[in-house]
Symmetry: C2
Subunit: 246 residues, 2 copies
């Protein structure tokens, strides 16, 4: 058996998220079906760096799997892609030590959230960014981030109450804002992110940008350690798992 690390990209629109669910088209189930085809029907389990929700995209999701097949790395990419649908693509496959684990070995992640700041709809952006047609004070949003980045914080307030994780302390290294035309990309880099954390952070930052909250509220929300004090969860289709660091 050889362990392989794979980097995959997907347009999350038509997937019911990453994880296998009965009767649903998920990233994991599509990948495992294709791997089973390559292994004469034998099940091959894939393990990802983390789940992504329905509608969330990935530019660089990482996963691992074990296979008895001895195929050169580039041939894996070609073979898998020839069987995969257009909205899911293998970018890279490489042999790794059998101790490698896509989730446990990850030391950090980058997520990006794309906002279309426009009154008019764009049919070419509707799957790939969240359109926010109202006034937005981006400076106030940037100002809020000083309460979030640099040192470890307990992000209980910014985490879906559904989570099973006990330790909710994470460190966000940087949050930056990139404006390109009417497209605002907010980039989050950190050592780990809780369930829905980026989407709740974005939803809360939008409430600061719209004037419903002030930047100083972020400090208060963190202290409360209660999901109810943070803002709304921003929609899935603006979110991208951009890169996983090892």
């Amino acid at each position: 058996m050889q362990r392989y690390k794979a980097i995959v990209a997907y347009d999350g629109t038509d997937f019911s998220g990453y994880q296998v669910q009965p009767h649903k088209r998920t990233v994991q189930s599509v990948l495992e079906t294709v791997l089973a085809k390559m292994h004469k029907g034998h099940e091959v389990k894939v393990s990802a760096s983390g789940r992504t929700d329905a509608g969330v995209h990935a530019k660089g999701q990482v996963l691992h799997f074990d296979s008895p097949l001895s195929i050169p790395d580039e041939k894996w990419v070609i073979a898998l892609n020839s069987l995969l649908p257009d909205d899911l693509s293998i970018l890279k496959v490489e042999k790794v030590k059998e101790s490698f684990h896509a989730r446990f070995d990850a030391v950090g992640k980058e997520y990006r959230y794309r906002l279309l700041l426009s009154k008019s709809r764009d049919p070419f952006e509707c799957r790939y960014s969240y359109r926010y047609p109202y006034k937005l004070n981006i400076e106030a949003m940037q100002d809020s981030c000083r309460y979030l980045v640099g040192e470890p914080h307990d992000f209980t307030s910014f985490c879906s109450a559904k989570t099973e994780v006990v330790d909710k302390v994470r460190t966000i290294e940087t949050i930056d804002f990139l404006m390109d035309g009417d497209l605002l990309t907010i980039r989050f880099v950190g050592n780990g992110f809780l369930y829905n954390m980026v989407r709740i952070l974005v939803g809360t930052l939008l409430e600061v940008g719209s004037g419903e909250r002030v930047p100083e509220d972020l400090e208060e929300i963190l202290k409360k350690k209660d999901r109810r004090f943070a803002g709304k969860t921003a929609p899935a289709h603006g979110l991208y798992l951009w890169e996983v660091f090892y």
Copy 2:
């Protein structure tokens, strides 16, 4: 009755082209259904600058329609967009003289064709560009264009045999090539384009780029006035009706 000119954009992926067809989702039928809703069920016909095929996108298709409703131009945009699906969007509506005709008054059009020159698939590009993973001599493609642009030519060879148009003389003003990363955009501006003309031009240029033909062949193909001498029709999903000039 007031005549209105509208500029619309659509992601062509999930439409069976522009024109109404029984039991099919087309751009025209979706627009007319929404207009009928705004007119208490009364039929409102829309006339476009020209049809687009299934899968072809539009960034600036133009159409006209007549309505007894007296609504300010910006309100038309908001009202129509609130009823239209995400993949079809009204960019602008303006009052025009009743003599205005979206097709007959058009004096030129710009089409763009997007090619993804990459060996690896990109799930975020698969709907919006044609992936060409082979070697391409772009200089030879550019060189071919001198036989096509600047003066009127009979484009019978570059036109689907299915067309009903009799006069096949058109003038292409410019064809230019824009490389951005691994994305090649070929831009066509001319006084008019025949059925499938841009796609057949792109298919033929690709055969020059791949070395199957030489630039000088273009002159010969034009002279033949026979579709069978030109190259393959490039796929619809790389093509955009970009702008219509009046």
